[in-house]
């Protein structure tokens, strides 16, 4: 299987070309945010205040890394389950969020909004936190430090391996792949 190299920020054109099932390697900047950080982002939007990073064109990685040991850039940093962020993702897509990296299925509303606003959802391998850490070259907390593991981090990544699981056309690998291996007996 060939690997598609992607440089952030994501453009609408590159998003249109990505298909569910594509294996990609992402390089550039991504931002981590999980449950508590999403709640704060939504609260900030509701109040009409400035977000801690430029959402337009960005990629959010649902991840809360373990602490970096001395001399290390980051600890283990695999994805967390995405569905918990579904409802809070809708306003973010409306504001230009272009990519999400996580694991597990998304709601119908999110999949539809991804088509409307042209966004893509990647899966990283859940539980491969030590392997994924090798792709992270720089790691800075940029907001909500008080949330500990749930703070927002700006990560510089190189060849971060991921799979396009839901594309901007509504194709969903979680729907199309498992049925192929389902035993009929």
């Amino acid at each position: 299987m060939s690997i598609i190299k992607i440089q952030t920020p994501l453009t609408d054109e590159s998003i249109q070309n990505l298909k569910a099932g594509d294996q990609v390697e992402l390089s550039g900047t991504i931002f981590t945010a999980r449950d508590a950080a999403h709640q704060r982002l939504i609260e900030t939007i509701r109040k009409g205040e400035d977000l801690p990073f430029e959402l337009n064109g960005s990629i959010i990685y649902y991840s809360g890394s373990s602490p970096a040991a001395p001399g290390k850039v980051i600890g283990a940093c695999g994805p967390t389950t995405s569905y918990r962020m579904d409802e809070m993702t809708l306003p973010l897509l409306g504001l230009g969020l272009k990519g999400m990296i996580g694991k597990g299925e998304r709601s119908q509303e999110v999949i539809e909004a991804m088509q409307t606003h042209k966004a893509v959802y990647f899966a990283a391998i859940g539980g491969a936190g030590a392997l994924i850490a090798r792709a992270v070259k720089k790691n800075d907390v940029i907001a909500y430090d008080d949330l500990g593991a749930e703070a927002i981090r700006k990560l510089e990544v190189e060849e971060f391996k991921a799979i396009v699981v839901i594309d901007a056309h509504g194709n969903n690998l979680y729907e199309t792949e498992p049925v192929k291996y389902k035993a009929t007996t």
Partner: protein
């Protein structure tokens, strides 16, 4: 009477927290290696290879396999002849967790109140169960339980007439609904019988058993095999992206129950099934 000092316990618990998060158990490693060989989905196969590579890196670099280093669950079996000295056992266990999560650079994932949700910043408290047994030893079984999989667990009070079929259907539906969320290939712990709390407790206990170890009860070990086969026929596969390896193992524990009931709890664990046993 045999004396065990609390500082021995603190040290042991701390070491177990670090060790199980860095070094995947041999049972899981072997099961993943088997899955890598027999997986027919190309995406699935490459995912399992990456998981094996991941555990190798974690072991070599001595870092956590997964960033969700879990909430700690401890089963303690205390011999009646043991005397704990120098402090309180429960506090020693919590101190061991605190030390291990700090020293091992493990993630602090516990909030002190489920509704106010303030992080306790030291991963305490863990959940501790005590059992008083014969002898003069202290047996500590410890797991770091990730919540992607914990969240997919389910409970049901079946009717006695639902029987074996009801049990199988409930387990299969729970795994089906969980889909990709608990990081398959998963380990499935099932507790059947007792009361609502007992069923949950033995489902958790089932996850402490190695995946390659069957129940000593013939009808239960057959149920485990049957369930494993049926689960792997669901097609969910590694990470829910299709394949024949949805589960690495199914462990079932049972307990006597009331004439009117058949409680069942399915406790799901991910491939990062981290558990360790130590004796003091």
């Amino acid at each position: 009477m045999r004396e065990i000092r609390v500082d021995q316990i603190i040290q042991k618990i701390s070491q177990m927290c670090i060790d199980c998060n860095y070094n995947i158990g041999k049972d899981i490693e072997d099961a993943l290696a088997r899955a890598e060989t027999n997986e027919i989905s190309p995406i699935g196969k490459s995912i399992i290879s990456d998981l094996l590579l991941n555990s190798q890196i974690a072991k070599d670099v001595q870092m956590p396999i997964c960033q969700d280093t879990g909430m700690v669950v401890v089963f303690v079996e205390i011999g009646q002849e043991v005397h704990i000295s120098g402090g309180v056992l429960e506090e020693a266990i919590q101190q061991g967790i605190r030390d291990g999560y700090e020293k091992g650079f493990l993630r602090k994932s516990v909030v002190s109140d489920p509704l106010l949700r303030i992080n306790s910043k030291d991963n305490t408290p863990g959940v501790v169960y005590y059992e008083l047994v014969a002898g003069d030893q202290l047996k500590i079984s410890l797991a770091a339980k990730g919540f992607g999989s914990e969240n997919m667990s389910k409970l049901k009070m079946l009717k006695p007439s639902d029987g074996m079929e009801g049990v199988e259907n409930f387990v299969l539906n729970t795994v089906k609904e969980a889909g990709p969320n608990p990081c398959p290939p998963i380990v499935v712990g099932v507790g059947i019988g007792g009361t609502v709390d007992k069923a949950a407790q033995i489902a958790k206990k089932a996850l402490f058993r190695n995946v390659d170890e069957s129940s000593p009860l013939p009808h239960i070990s057959e149920l485990e095999n049957r369930l494993l086969e049926k689960i792997n026929h669901l097609g969910i596969g590694p990470q829910g992206l299709g394949g024949v390896n949805t589960a690495l193992g199914v462990n079932v524990e049972i307990y006597p129950t009331h004439i009117a009931g058949l409680p069942i709890v399915v406790n799901i664990n991910c491939h990062a099934s981290r558990h360790a046993v130590a004796y003091l």
